[in-house]
Amino acid sequence: VRINRRTAIRGSIVLASMALVAENVNIPQFARIAPGILLVLALPGFALVCAILPAAEISPGELMLASLGASVAVATISAVLLAATVGLSQRSAAAVLAFITIVASICALLKTSRIRQAHH
């Protein structure tokens, strides 16, 4: 099943928003597991790589690897920065990672739109 990259980017915005909500409302712990893992280990990197390389310059496999590596790096740096400044907590971590994901996703969508327009 091939998923359009723009659809995937939109999906990452939705997932990041859902994860942010899940971290800020009182829901059972098991319901936080999947969104939490995605928010730390997948979404920020995916959005960032899509924003950096908006055209299809990277194969799906490489995109997956780059998303994983970038997410780990982004989550590490943001966690260290939070813990060095305001303090690392559930809300601060969720807010920062969701913010990075959403902003990078919007950048990626804008860039891909521009590329599509240029092609047309």
């Binding site: 893992i37 280990l41 490489e62 690897l65 790096a73 907590s89």
Partner: protein, 692 residues
């Protein structure tokens, strides 16, 4: 343009050298060697197979995939059985045999499939990742409920510190340096915060993802360097066969996050350095910073590799567009890592240089001057001597790698010395870098011959085997694809490596290297966990120690300075959240026969308020690799049959100022606050008799 000697195909995928017309290596060119029709036919068939392989890149074949999944599952079942039997205290040699069978059932089918000609690129990279994950599961099987390796306790304490204070740089009694490299602890703490999972599960997920990352990056880097997915498969196998891969690289330790990130930085930089958009390098900056705050040696290694890469590119006069980011990033990593190392992580310099590097180098120097006899290899824990096959396997593995490196580096030199028609060298910087890294292998073995340098030597393997993998991968391609100089060398070699025999031979050699390297880095008695009801002094934290540590946290409060043996200090630090003083400085307190005079002075100097006495030290030799209870400096360390003297523990009940406040099973906790603050001078109680 890619740096690889192999041209990049228009689709962006790197074609295998065996079927690439633009392949510059004289060993791969299509010039016919001998006018033998049958041989020509075979060559054409082989080339056809290689071409078929390249066309199958996009899909996984169902049959082989199911077979590999089945054999890997079977192997994991064997290792699980071995671990379960070890927990129940069954005979160690039988358990070990089952464990080895399991490991080989996992490794051999994957290695055969990885080096086969017909295997597609997607399948190869999937197998490389799959092997890494399978071995990660083997490590988890040995400690399924909690972290049990020494370094894991160190980083678990870091995670606990961040979760409890929400801030980094809090004191870590087990390794003060680790607190200043908070990358792993911070990402694990954020995962714990966001998911509500336990520290243990969150740590497993983080290291599992890092494991997949490192396996994929090694494959892709090797593919970029060698230009062949098959050579990359060999490189991945060689890397998986490095002595640290099975257990050490799977631990919850900062290196096991730092190194994958460093490899990711190299891959990403190599992948995007010719891209027009400078934004691509934003991610490189983020990754470099993440490596800097995660692990010191990984950051230094990254700086060294990028620096070497840039230097070789400069010497080879590589076009500026290809090297424009390499040099600046080498400088960036070098600057940030050194700044962090000397200005932020202040205890790190003492830890790395004074405690690890200098003793090893001094011993090598002493050995060279014949002032020191070095150490006996495979000494085992507590003087235990492993069976001869265990030692032999390690020596054979080292011999195969060392002997294989000679033609492999010669192969890299051939590539280096080949010139284009315009008399300029081919742009082959990565091959040269990898060959230089591989060439350092024999030198990294030297510290292994010293008493203190074993760990230093082992840890270099994770870096050196990247180069070894790439150069051996290139060599394997030469051998199996009938390179001319090998044909000249020997018809027998030619025959051995031809067609399916080459695949089998490569897989067998890789398996021997893997098995041997497992024996190199793991003492015979440490491959499986100890019994859940050990007799004598245990080699891992026991439930009664955890109970005592929990009691200490609840009744004495967190952060109390304890003196204890090494293994129990892990539980005190993590379960108890106490601050045990270094076992290396605490051992004289325990080994002394009296509590007055010098011992009281030591208690005051080390600011020890509580003594954690584990009477199990009396009932068996220390089973760790060095054969010690506290540190290598303690009396009779490493001597076979050595048990802790009873008077060392009994004295705490024989003096005033030392009050027993906890006693359950073999554990006693004594309050010596009076001695520590100088308000009480310990005197011998005539009425009390020591236990013996």
């Amino acid at each position: 343009m890619p740096e690889s000697p192999y041209a990049q195909s228009r689709s962006g995928r790197y074609a295998s050298p065996e079927h690439h017309d633009a392949w510059p290596n004289p060993g791969y060119d299509s010039a016919p060697r001998e006018a033998h029709p049958a041989r020509h036919r075979k060559q054409r068939q082989r080339r056809k197979v290689a071409e078929t392989s390249s066309h199958e890149n996009g899909r996984l074949r169902i049959g082989p995939s199911i077979s590999i999944a089945a054999t890997t599952t079977l192997g994991l079942v064997c290792t699980q059985i071995a671990n379960q039997r070890a927990f129940s205290g069954s005979k160690y040699s039988t358990n070990l045999a089952i464990f080895w069978i399991g490991l080989l059932i996992i490794f051999i089918p994957i290695s055969v499939r990885l080096v086969m000609l017909r295997t597609g690129r997607t399948e190869r990279i999937t197998l490389a990742i799959f092997l890494g994950i399978a071995f990660y599961i083997v490590k988890i099987q040995g400690s399924p409920q909690t972290f049990t390796f020494v370094d894991e306790y160190i980083h678990l304490r870091n995670v606990q510190n961040i979760l409890s204070t929400h801030h980094i740089f809090k004191y870590n009694p087990l390794l003060p340096t680790a607190a200043y490299y908070p990358g792993l602890a911070a990402i694990t703490a954020s995962l714990v915060d966001l998911t509500g999972l336990s520290n243990f599960i969150a740590g497993l997920i983080v290291i599992g993802v890092s494991r997949a990352l490192v396996s994929a990056c090694i494959f892709l880097i090797a593919e970029k360097v060698t230009g062949s997915d098959r050579a990359a498969g060999v490189a991945s196998l060689a890397y998986s066969a490095n002595p640290m891969f099975l257990f050490w690289s799977a631990m919850f330790s900062y290196e096991d996050l730092g190194l994958p990130l460093a490899f990711f930085a190299v891959w990403w930089l190599g992948r995007t350095r010719t891209a027009a958009a400078i934004q691509a390098q934003l991610l490189t900056v983020i990754v470099v910073l993440a490596v800097t705050v995660t692990h010191h040696i990984s950051a230094f290694a990254l700086a060294a590799i990028l620096g070497l890469w840039f230097l070789v590119m400069l010497i080879l006069r590589t076009p500026r567009t290809e090297r424009r980011y390499i040099g600046p990033f080498a400088i960036l990593v070098g600057t940030t890592s050194l700044t962090w190392f000397f200005l932020v992580a202040k205890p790190a310099a003492s830890y790395i240089i004074s405690q690890n590097l200098t003793p090893g180098l001094k011993e090598i120097q002493a050995m060279a001057l014949k002032a020191s006899a070095g150490r006996k290899l495979y000494g085992g824990g507590g003087g235990f001597t492993p069976p001869p096959w265990y030692e032999l396997a390690g020596l054979v593995a080292v011999a195969i790698v060392t002997i294989g490196l000679i033609p492999a580096i010669f192969r890299a030199y051939m590539l280096f010395s080949t010139r284009r028609s315009d008399n300029l060298p081919y742009p082959r910087a990565p091959v040269i870098v990898m060959a230089l890294i591989a060439a350092s292998f024999p030198f990294t073995l030297l510290p292994r011959l010293t008493a203190d340098g074993g760990a230093l030597s082992s840890r270099t393997a994770e870096y050196v085997f990247t180069g070894i993998g790439c150069t051996l991968g290139l060599l394997a391609m030469d051998c199996t694809m009938h390179a001319r100089y090998f044909r000249r060398l020997s018809q027998a070699v030619n025959w051995c490596f031809a067609a399916w025999r080459g695949t089998i031979l490569l897989a067998v050699m890789m398996t021997v290297v893997f098995a041997g390297d497992v024996t190199v880095s793991n003492p015979y008695t440490a491959l499986l966990p100890s019994s859940s009801h050990p007799t004598g002094y245990p080699s891992s934290v026991q439930p009664y120690v955890i109970t005592a540590s929990n009691w200490a946290r609840v009744h004495l409060g967190s952060g109390q300075p304890f003196a204890s043996d090494l293994i129990d200090s892990f539980a005190l630090s993590t379960n108890g959240n106490e601050n045990p003083v270094s076992a290396g400085t605490a051992y004289p307190i325990f080994f002394s026969a009296t509590l007055d005079g010098a011992t009281a002075a030591l208690i005051r100097a080390d600011k020890v308020r509580y003594i954690f006495a584990d009477w199990n030290m009396r009932y068996g030799s220390a089973a760790n690799a060095g054969g010690y209870y506290f540190s290598t400096w303690e009396p009779n360390s490493g001597k076979p049959g050595n048990v802790f003297p009873a008077v060392g523990l009994a004295k705490f009940t024989m003096y005033t100022c030392s009050h027993m406040i906890y006693h359950a099973g073999p554990v006693e906790i004594f309050n010596v606050t009076g001695i520590e603050n100088g308000t009480c001078d310990p005197k011998l109680l005539a009425a009390k008799k020591g236990r013996s």
